[in-house]
Symmetry: C2
Subunit: 405 residues, 2 copies
């Protein structure tokens, strides 16, 4: 089996790059810290005898050769970018458990038929650059390269520029044959922990729709401007935020709806806000319900803007439909958990993952492990070394299963 | 009378310092642009034969001597800081009409008994540093000097540091006897324009209460976190914003209530907001109603925070009670408008002004002129040269009236 301590030590060492006082991690995509983390991963992989290549989206692949290197590789991996106040496990666990599988193959001098690769996917979080999973999306042909490279952060810097700047704009074309893809990840939700189950066998991922909304009213003085003459863009946004929440609540079970980002202009205490920009994140495992939520949102936002005399720019910037994972890969994960005697259950992923896009071009499976209080996207995110180890062992067996025949 | 063209030209020249593409002005308090504008005012005043002094709050006084310079001066003035997206008239009109009065006294070789001064008051807007009218407040003994110098912007820079940096931390003690104070200002509201009236004789200013609220919930992932487990600080803020609006609407006539500034943490699309900071601005001409609004606000914010499981830090950071201006000064303004044949009416100021604080230590009056569509704190703020001229003529006569006996 894989080495629990080595995996944990690698996670802790990587977590220092961008580590925060509260024990979390702030390592936004394509920052200097992202570069440092990529460099460290590359060094570790080369030390493990791998050859590392980088594609034009900055995706990194560390290859351990197989008996037949003309065969497509079995790939493991996830991302190393984090949220602004993220944790030390989201994403990086999937990358470093991939490396741990390779180190374990080395320990036991195991020769696989297929090459085995550990990978980093660029900008999975969608926090600095929207949408999420951009680079795995390009790999899967969901987005074209130009779209991927032109995604810009709130300061207008593009992924293409930032990849150049940190030296990770690779030579390789984006996209190549993959025998199977596996991603290990913390659950980021409360189910496994509450049910005291070690392994989540991920069968599906829920669908997502992301929106950007700009409301424009009229800036005016907070003192002498009578209430009834106002066009207050923030008041409009406030009412929409409440409706976004209502749509989530009335489409239970399983619907989620969130306004996570909001900016006010000019953002001055005694100025009625003239413009507000905000985002909406809608999720549901059932595409029909997700469409119904979309229709409800469009109706209610238009109504509020209209009633309040606000101009509205409303745009769906991302739609990622529900994903069923590959039956063979899912079975490999379940079998590995059973063989090792871990408690396990089937589970639907609430978050998007690079695996969701890779699933379009290769048989794909995911392994979930519990995280403390179900909390992620928070500096307090935490997971137990033994659970992380269990997930890594399941990953190891599932990969062996796919790489050796 | 005063010189319409000269006043307009000075306003336009000053408006270039921080002038924006949309024809507005962005000249935040104690920035390099504020320094440039102060330097230009100082130069103009010295060219007009004045002696300029600066006090420890950076307030600037340009003195034209009278027959008896042991008598306290009649002071005119306002502020030259602007909102982030402000106009070319708010504040600076009161400063430059003061200068225009001095230039006109020179043109006609008029000797007044009392010295006459044109003044700039530091950080009136309250946008970069809260609260508003800090430096006139120190002059009036409402705030002590230490409080004034320690006001910090959102980056933590204090007024004291920034005054040093731009070279306007003067030698003079803050506060000295004033025979009478007059401030000319655009109305910043719609009344004069709608009634086609040229001069507003300001009898009172309404009261204000400013608050800062921080709501703390729990950051979590927007995907796998079930709706009913969430502690969404932005949803809480949204509900409070709607209640702030309701309190304004249910305390008509005359109540105003505004949330102008709001910041979300960590402000990422797929993270449930863990913390939101925002401000509330309440106004009413009647102090009892303002107190009732305050009580309603405290009740409803506590209730929402409690219902939603959010922690709340709620602080009233500023209370400026309604201000009655000096009967003698108000009469001087009304008389000057009548003598010049300008249409005029009594009016209550919706905005706070430096005059509101100076009124505590000296007889004080204000002159309002119309502004286009009643719009201020907006780059589209505009006023007619002839109205600005009329206000300046009224200021001139009111000052003469107080300075010559
Ligand atoms: N796993 C994860 O946090 N992905 C970010 C994309 C999403 O919001 O689902
Ligand atoms: N006149 C003016 O805009 N003052 C700013 C302070 C306030 O908000 O009333």
């Amino acid at each position: 089996t894989t080495n629990e301590q080595r995996l944990w030590d690698s996670l802790m060492q990587m977590g220092e790059i961008g580590g925060t006082e509260k024990g979390g991690c702030c390592r936004l995509a394509l920052t200097d810290l992202d570069k440092q983390a990529r460099d460290l991963f590359t060094q570790w992989c080369e030390e493990a005898g791998c050859t590392v290549r980088v594609d034009k989206m900055g995706n990194v692949f560390a290859r351990r050769p197989g008996k037949n290197n003309d065969l497509p590789p079995v790939v493991m991996g996830s991302h190393i970018d984090t949220q602004p106040t993220g944790g030390k496990f989201d994403g990086v666990y999937g990358v470093l458990s991939g490396l741990e599988v390779i180190r374990t193959l080395n320990d036991h001098n195991i020769e696989t038929d297929h090459p085995v690769e550990a990978s980093i996917w660029t900008n999975e979080e969608g926090s600095r650059f929207a949408p999420a999973m951009v680079a795995s999306g390009v790999f899967a042909g969901v987005f074209d390269l130009e779209y991927g490279l032109s995604r810009a952060d709130l300061d207008g810097k593009t992924m293409g520029e930032e990849l150049q700047r940190i030296g990770y704009a690779g030579e390789h074309e984006v996209g190549s044959p993959v025998k199977a893809f596996f991603e290990a990840h913390i659950e980021q939700g409360p189910i496994l922990e509450e049910e005291e189950t070690t392994i989540g066998v991920v069968t599906d991922a829920q669908g997502q729709r992301w929106y950007e909304v700009t409301l424009t009213g009229q800036e005016a003085h907070a003192g002498p401007t009578p209430m009834l003459r106002r066009k207050d863009a923030l008041l409009g946004a406030a009412r929409i935020i409440d409706e976004v929440n209502r749509i989530g609540l009335t489409n239970q079970p399983n619907a989620c709806s969130t306004v996570g980002l909001l900016q006010v202009f000019p953002n001055s205490r005694n100025v009625i806000p003239g413009e507000v920009f905000f985002t909406i994140d809608f999720r549901h495992p059932n595409d029909e319900v997700l469409s119904k939520m979309d229709a409800e949102l469009r109706e209610v936002t238009a109504k509020i803007a209209d009633q309040m005399g606000l101009q509205m720019k409303f745009e769906q910037i991302w739609y990622s439909p529900p994903v069923p994972f590959d039956k063979g890969c899912v079975d490999s994960v379940r079998q590995a958990a059973m063989d090792a005697g871990y408690s396990h259950r089937d589970i639907v992923s609430g978050a998007g993952h690079d695996a969701c896009y890779i699933a379009r071009v290769a048989p794909t499976g995911m392994v979930f492990v519990p995280c403390e209080n179900g909390i992620s996207h928070n500096e307090e995110e935490n997971a137990k070394p033994e659970d992380l180890h269990a997930g890594c062992n399941v990953l190891f067996q599932a990969v062996l299963n796919q790489a050796c025949n």
